[in-house]
Symmetry: C2
Subunit: 218 residues, 2 copies
Amino acid sequence: MRTGTSQRDDQRQTAQQRRKELLEAADRVVLRDGPEASMNAIAAEAGITKPILYRHFGDKGGLYRALAKRHTDALLASLRAALDAPADDRRQRVEATLDTYLAAIEARPQVYRFLMHPADHGQPEPETSFDVGHHSAPLLRRLGEELATVIAERVELGSGGEEVARVWGHGIVGMMHAAGDWWLRDRPCARGQLVHHLTDLLWGRLSLADDRVGAPGF
Amino acid sequence: MRTGTSQRDDQRQTAQQRRKELLEAADRVVLRDGPEASMNAIAAEAGITKPILYRHFGDKGGLYRALAKRHTDALLASLRAALDAPADDRRQRVEATLDTYLAAIEARPQVYRFLMHPADHGQPEPETSFDVGHHSAPLLRRLGEELATVIAERVELGSGGEEVARVWGHGIVGMMHAAGDWWLRDRPCARGQLVHHLTDLLWGRLSLADDRVGAPGF
DNA sequence: CGTGCTTGTTACCTGCGGTAACAGCAGTCT
DNA sequence: AGACTGCTGTTACCGCAGGTAACAAGCACG
């Protein structure tokens, strides 16, 4: 049950440190049991009982949001690094970023699953008019917005470019997400191949290809 | 509680019809309460109690899958129609299809939310080696596969074209999904604008745009 | 000393998915 | 007719989840 530290000697640590410990315990459980890990299991892993978790994080959504933020921040940092690494041209940057993302989800699929399929742990977000479909994962929204700002900063898109950049940011992130999710399950090809095909798609190869003979002009 | 038919006079209907009635009741509840509608609520709406639902659908996942199949089939049919409608060129077809999808999710956001954010109702699918992240919605997988076959059928992609088509199918569907989800919440622009920007993206405008002055070569 | 704060506990509530066991009502076979 | 089968429906329950009161111990400070 307990994982290393004994119950007595960490007693006088500050609340922040305690919170961190709890998050790490939760992390272990989520990595082992997936996103549907129960609060009881997490508390047991941390060597305590439920009410303490609730005092620290409010509710399950709070814990999971705190947990997700850590991983999201880490992933985002590595993506930013890939985007800013030295490269010859834009296409190389895009490929490097896609590859970094895919490598991350390939290396730690449990974390990926937790971030992307959170099994609905969310605050109601009362700002919305009605209950229109909330994005499955906050990570997707965040990635989309981040990419949008990067595009708006670095690509000349003329008037209304900000709007275009936002659409593209969310669109590209969604493409990456869906393709990565599918690829992670079916493993239809090597990672490099996937990156290459996706970049081809973004580079307009769909518009350049010929119709097949007998096809109704798609 | 009851919704029209009385308890006695529909007693001798066949099981198929009964199933249909139950699905329609479930539909009403899901439309009202969202994807987290409880089995109790659905049973009450149908004027019966839980065990009957379980006799008909096995478990909650079964009911939700049956429900999802109906809407998925309907959406897929309309998308196919848009894709096959008379059009001058490929770009027009793509725009029409995107617009059809967005119009559908705009018109019935509750259905959309149910299909896309099913809050984890699924069989374990034991075929997979481990428990890598399952696609959030079966609809996404299905759309991706469908689009892949359409692309493979109609676009000349050379050798290895099938693999490319599958990647593109899932990628484009993911782009559409994420952009649509974001747009449905934030409503940053008119539908036609969104369609136009996304098609521009697919048509390679990202590769053609210039770098902004001072930007590090994205 | 008592007061208050934090950390922890046990024991409980509600609501969910899911199931067993039983009741009534057709038709059907002998 | 009467027993058997099969369907529809019920009540009452189980286990488990998230979440919460109520209370107990250790430690600081006036």
